[in-house]
């Protein structure tokens, strides 16, 4: 399943290289959030983080034809561009009167992968039906037992039991389809 997600991204990149702006939009929607979060963490400035997103996504679609799948995933390729861009933006800022050290932090590739993983998990949760999302929220996020969920939702305990089971499996399937690494 993770393979199909990777193929989907490579296909989007190929279409973006051919000038398909819907593919460009899909790539943007996939990566912009994690890139912005990465920019905020690394550069500490919302304006520079915006600039990073714009610069990276522009480079990604303009040079999409250069992506070589044998050298890694689309995400790895995008993250490599992001790292270089962050360093460039930091160095440009260093030439201004206000300077801030780019702190040594864990590998920027790891940070971006964590941010992207969180984004994919949110996408997986969004794929669930409202009923499935509700039981998972009550069971895990609110820490309620199944008997308490049944009382709150005024449902038979057996229904809550089944719904929880299928909700968890639906979430697992969505994560697989989106290529979330566990």
């Amino acid at each position: 399943m993770a393979g199909s997600a990777a193929t989907d991204q490579a296909s989007l990149l190929a279409r973006a290289a051919g000038g398909d702006e819907h593919a460009v939009a899909s790539l943007y929607d996939r990566f912009a959030g994690p890139l912005y979060g990465f920019g905020l963490q690394r550069l500490g400035d919302p304006e520079l983080a915006e600039q990073l997103v714009q610069d990276v996504m522009t480079r990604v679609w303009r040079h999409a034809g250069r992506y070589d799948p044998s050298r890694g995933s689309v995400a790895t390729w995008v993250f490599a561009i992001a790292r270089t861009t962050a360093v460039d933006l930091h160095r440009r800022r260093q030439r201004l009167p206000r300077t801030t050290e780019l702190e040594d932090t864990p590998s920027p590739v790891d940070e971006l992968e964590d941010l992207l993983r969180a984004e994919l998990v949110r996408a997986a949760l969004d794929r669930l039906s409202p009923e499935h999302r509700e039981v998972l929220e009550l069971a895990h996020m609110r820490g309620l037992r199944q008997v308490d969920i049944a009382r709150r939702l005024q449902l038979p305990l057996g229904t809550v039991k089944s719904r929880t089971y299928y909700a968890l499996h639906a979430f697992r399937l969505a994560c697989q389809e989106l290529g979330v690494q566990r």
């Binding site: 460009v24 714009q54 480079r59 250069r66 993983r117 969180a118 069971a139 037992r145 089971y165």
Partner: protein
């Protein structure tokens, strides 16, 4: 719901989410100790609560204007490419091949790639390709044969301006001896006369201190 082993596997999800009462939890744990089928299903579900935690908070969102700019650039380039293609085809049909109409269309500028090799003692080699979008110079670098530099060293790419100034255009990540990077510099290629890669001893120091690894002349556009 029961499995072929006869156990109610829906309770496994309840155990994973810590939603069972104590008696039920003990019962399910007893099954898991002796039933491979249930144990395998439990193992599949156990990592999921931690993933749910990962997605709990809403992620950061870049302002919508950034999306608009990126897409507007894509539409603009696609439109320019289509007009170029359509009108050049029309010119061919009309028997007016090339120069006059071609110049007015300002077709997509060519990419000029040059082979580069290392400056002794460096044995790097590869290609550097230059393109312009009229406002900036786009440099695509592919180099092989780069040795690992001791921390905090880094390979850095520079452009040498016609007015004598040197501009850093970015640092190169090296994986298995290869660096591939897409770099951008302000201004059209005519601004620049030379391209260098150096081995800088400290990536935190903006000054140019390290030896030259490759050197090339920026081609005329």
């Amino acid at each position: 719901m029961t499995t072929v082993c006869g156990h109610d596997r829906e309770l496994i999800a309840g155990l994973v989410l810590d939603g069972l009462d104590d008696v039920q939890a003990v019962t399910v744990r007893t099954w898991l100790a002796s039933c491979t089928t249930c144990r395998e299903e439990h193992a599949e579900l156990v990592p999921l609560p931690a993933l749910i935690d990962l997605g709990r908070e809403p992620g950061p969102r870049a302002p919508e204007r950034v999306r608009d700019r990126v897409l507007a650039d894509a539409v603009r380039r696609r439109t320019r490419r289509r007009w170029s293609t359509a009108l050049v085809a029309a010119a061919l049909l009309a028997g007016l091949v090339g120069v006059g109409i071609g110049r007015q269309l300002a077709p997509e500028p060519p990419e000029v790639a040059i082979a580069v090799s290392g400056v002794e003692p460096f044995e790097a080699s590869g290609t550097v390709a230059f393109r312009t979008d009229q406002e900036s110079t786009l440099v695509s670098v592919t180099l092989d044969g780069l040795d690992e530099l001791p921390e905090p060293g880094v390979y850095e790419a520079w452009l040498y301006r016609a007015d004598g100034r040197i501009v850093s255009i970015g640092q190169l990540d090296v994986i298995d001896g290869r660096a591939e990077a897409l770099l951008t510099a302000e201004g059209p290629p005519g601004t620049y006369v030379g391209f260098w890669v150096t081995a800088e001893p400290d990536h935190r120091d903006p000054a140019h201190d390290g030896p030259t690894v490759v050197r090339a002349t920026v081609p005329h556009f």
